[in-house]
Symmetry: C2
Subunit: 269 residues, 2 copies
């Protein structure tokens, strides 16, 4: 007799799990309007159950039902997560730095962190002449193909990185994408010694990014910042300047987050 003894207690409240799978189904549909039938099949629930749960979410105003009985996420969700963002002192601290970074380099700047096995964008700042970027706060991306992902993973224990990429996979987006774990680990070593990471058309054709990690008071990586632009906007010649700027901004933010400052300080401020 074999027992499945998972270490984590798996006695979750079923209907709550189901409710969120409905929310996620709507979320993932991303524009495609879903009816109750669609929701039921997407979540593998009976139509009646899906209906009851959806109705509950509607009265709670977390989803809305339009005149054609199609469901979409409700505005109330925004309020919930706005609090999350607002409570993240990191986002607060990084905001102005990020903005200045974008202005200084004339490119789009991002703040990102690891959540689960994903890269999660926490903040974004455009420069005046920045091109239309498709990224948005809350977006999730891959850790193996982005400069932010590299900067974040470089300072994690190897085992954790391996677990993440094994679970998430390493899809190839461009000819330059690193798709082998060994190569990725080698790259991370380089990033760690250099203190910055580069994405050279690895996530998207024609786009180059430079990122540097942010540490908290314990010395742990908690996030990373980057600048992104078309290759023509960050040619080889401009790279050193960009790297230096990003790294120095990252250090500024780290200090504000309590990271021990090695350079000598004078009095006050």
């Amino acid at each position: 007799m074999r027992e499945d003894k998972m270490p984590n207690n798996n006695d979750n409240v079923r209907s709550i799990v189901r409710a969120f799978s409905i929310l996620e189904a709507i979320s993932k549909a991303n524009g495609e309007k879903l009816g109750i039938q669609d929701l039921a099949t997407a979540t593998k629930l009976s139509k009646a159950t899906a209906y009851r749960i959806a109705s509950t979410l509607v009265t709670l105003q977390y989803i809305e039902k339009d005149e054609n009985n199609k469901y979409r996420l409700g505005l109330k969700l925004i309020s919930l997560s706005a609090v999350v963002l607002n409570n993240l002192q990191l986002v607060d601290v990084a905001k102005s730095e990020l903005h200045e970074l974008a202005q200084e380099i004339g490119l789009t700047a991002h703040l990102g962190t690891i959540d689960g096995n994903d890269l999660l964008y926490l903040s974004k700042a455009n420069s005046n002449n920045s091109i239309r970027t498709t990224s948005y706060v809350g977006q999730r991306s891959y850790l193996h193909s982005t400069s932010l992902g590299k900067a974040l993973c470089a300072f994690l224990p190897k085992e954790q990185v391996i677990r993440i990429v094994k679970e998430k996979g390493m899809p190839q987006f461009t000819p330059n994408t690193i798709t082998k774990i060994e190569n990725y680990l080698l790259e991370l070593d380089k990033v760690k010694t250099q203190g910055y990471a580069i994405d050279d058309e690895e996530n998207e054709k024609f786009v180059r990014c430079v990122a540097a990690p942010i540490f908290d008071h314990t010395g742990k990586v908690i996030a990373a910042i980057s600048v992104s632009g078309l290759i023509v906007h960050i040619p080889e010649a401009k790279l050193p300047k960009a790297i230096e700027t990003v790294m120095s901004r990252a250090l500024d933010i780290s200090k504000k987050m309590g990271y021990p400052d090695n350079s000598k300080r004078t009095i006050s401020e």
Copy 2:
């Protein structure tokens, strides 16, 4: 024998309602770290039930439990609502306009809409020299004391406005706050004929705002935009210019949302 026959079917899934009341409790605590006991009392649930629901939400990653058994909202919520914001074509359309508006006037610009009985901030743009504003996307505020609220309510049926302020109340924030329904309705009449709304230190001391409504293709108000600044930054002398700019930007956005354009158009674009 009296029956409570509510028109809306009130057979919601209990545990889902409870789950969200826990989420909201954490959200409202706003920084104050809550333990399971606090959650139980805040939601009037038994400790065991609160614990089970919280555990479920933790495994779903919608909340997190720190080393001291205190709960906070999880990053996964950000992803959910990012989709909401992204799906709102309004936010998308208004973004650049809002940014330019902030730059042009040199003040903070907001985009807001009505959700329930609240004013909900959907987007925000700072100018370079804007002061530190406390507003944030997802924040909720009052409809009676803000310029955005007035701009929004002015074009609603009177009965609806009355219902809203009755349900929500009209708390007084400054000596200037309108606290009587009749006065508010008179003010809304003025706003409607003028086409713009002003908040003259009604919501916050020393702060003045100018707002104008945004309409969709059916002519319904769907949102409003505003600029906010300290009185010294929007003196009487500068008001006409500010009003004109805000109104023209609002009209631009309305047109982009399909609002019938009265002015003649030439060919192409």
